[in-house]
Amino acid sequence: MRQVQNYNIHDILKFQICSDKKFGFRALQNLRFSCFQVEQVEKPDIVLNIGKFTPSNENCYLVDYKYYVRDNYFYCRDSEGKVSWELEIKGLEQGDIIINLHLSKRFHMQPVDLLRIPLFFPQAFLLRIIEHKLSTKGYFLTHSAAVSKDNQAYLLSGRAGSFKTSLCMDFVRRGGFTCLGDDRAILQQDRVFGFPVNSAIFEFMVKRLPDETHFGVQKQVQFVTGYLRGKYGKDRGNGAQSGKLKAMLLITRSNRAKNNKQVNFEPLPQSSLGGIVDSILISNRLEDFSGMGMPGFGISSAPFLRYMLAYSFVFPDSLVATWERDMAGKLRNTLENIPVYMVEIPPDYSPDTFDQIHQFIARNC
């Protein structure tokens, strides 16, 4: 039975997830993008079809024995860690994007993987395609958390492990802010649009946990049972919000002895703007290495980055190969009038870290 779920991101981009099999946990399948779910969308920009398909990969360039590339088209079979997949993307450069994805079982999958992989893996590819499609429309899906208050938005950018989520939780609970997204946000000029990924999980964490490190197996089970009973993720309002960018913080965890408890702030001068823009773009590409589904899937070789490089190798003038350069120019213009700070936080999270950052924002921004 075919099952279709529709999503609309701020009317900027619409997409559809179709699967040919009915999953046992239908409610979990849309966990990642639940706050963008709508009843119906007209003309989706992206359609993700999950299930068996017949590829139309004739007349393609063959790269590295396995990537099939043609104008506007990509196909490959690949596997790594616990996952094995077949992927076809049509419309990479123009027209609507159609993704066909088929997952097959591998011998060392555990029962829990049979549940987790179909739920989370396709969404990881989708997220990357959403980033690509948004960029063609002039929007940048940044790997940053975003919080806002009184229509003023602050971006907290940082690699995994820089406690973006924990900080957002405290911004919501103790600072009275709205969380526009604890992992991603959409940036267009100085406008920040919310992009809450897994917003129901975030809601659960805000209500039940002191910080993100406490989200262990027991709490995960607690969340799933609560979610299936409709306790979390009902409020879809926060996805629709936006704010005007006031400041950007680049957060890094540090084990330097001198700032054991102290948070260090260093304003970055305009002269280093080019470097800041590079860092922001590199952070997105590093996500291709670590953000593929979930930890435990065993995927660390950035499959999507390799696919896009294979496409760029054949078509070096294509959008896929050049969008980053164009985006760098746009980001430069945006950040020209926005203060950017390098923030070093202690290795372990404590509410004290939040207090110092909160005070800093109140004082300086």
């Binding site: 590295d64 690699r159 890094t252 002895a257 080019g274 590093l286 660390s300």
Partner: protein, 346 residues
Amino acid sequence: MKAVEKHYSIHDIINFKIVNNAGFLSRVLPFWDIELRDFESERKAEPDFTVFLGKFSPKSADCLILDDRFHIKEDYLYCSDSYKWARWQLEMSGFNGGNLEVHISANPFAWMLLPDLIINPLIWFKLNEKGCAIVHGSGVVKNDSAYIFAGRGAAGKTTIALNLVERGFKLLGDHFVVLNNDNVLSFLSPLHIVGFNLTPFVQRRMKARQKILFRLNQLSQKVTGLQFGTKISPKTLLAGLTEDKARLHSVFLLLPRTRFKVEKVSKEEIIAHMIPNQKLESFPFIKYMMEYSYLFPRSNMAGYWTRYEQNLSQALGAAQAFYRVEVPLTYDNETLEEISKLASMR
């Protein structure tokens, strides 16, 4: 066990030293360094970088921590990493232009891949600093004119090189070549002989032991479905048929598709193809470069790809022609004849 020290040299442009402290692994896997053996040098030149193999204790205090496992400070990076079954720890310091030292501790799976994973990219990194550019492609010479065939896997780089050697050319490298000013320098890493690039010419020159090894690899390929190349040193297999350097004549970019088709292109266009080609070859090392560049976006490390483009642009300035060549998925005599004709044009 006592550490084993070996010196390596690439045209005396890059000298490096490997200090092997992992006695057990190097006894169990004696062929791990086969990729590097032909670069071994008797002369103990001042090394551009030193690799220490074996367990080490990282000096990762006072660092910034990225992705929970990259410890980075100015001129320093430490991480543990894995790919499929391979696991390794890596510590690098001195890559900002000082004394580059690298410590690696690896499990047996990673041990086998060390040259590909880390040591080759380090060579490229140093070449890049010295104004040279590594190119993922094969190269041959005739009358002091070098012809480069760049491309990704499945493009037939080795097939073309071996066939041209049979037609009177000399080999510069079947996997990589180095561009240095107007010259192409050889990079004679072992040939990977697999079923489809084994020509009768090569077969005749193979020793009995290599033939047996090749058959065994073919057999395990049939059983497991994974491709096992038989690694054979070109210096012995093609004795007298290799060359150290020659002047660059033309560059061919190979794109496997349906049938043979040639098109002259500009230098800029060739470079635009060559950069993603080299990036794809640099996994997973490219990740370490990116992690460091995230924190130090204006460092020597972060400038790698810009420099690569500049070095390519300068070196390719001397070439007479650039071709974009579409080739069929499996090579036939006709295609090889056409390519041979192109490479013989003056």
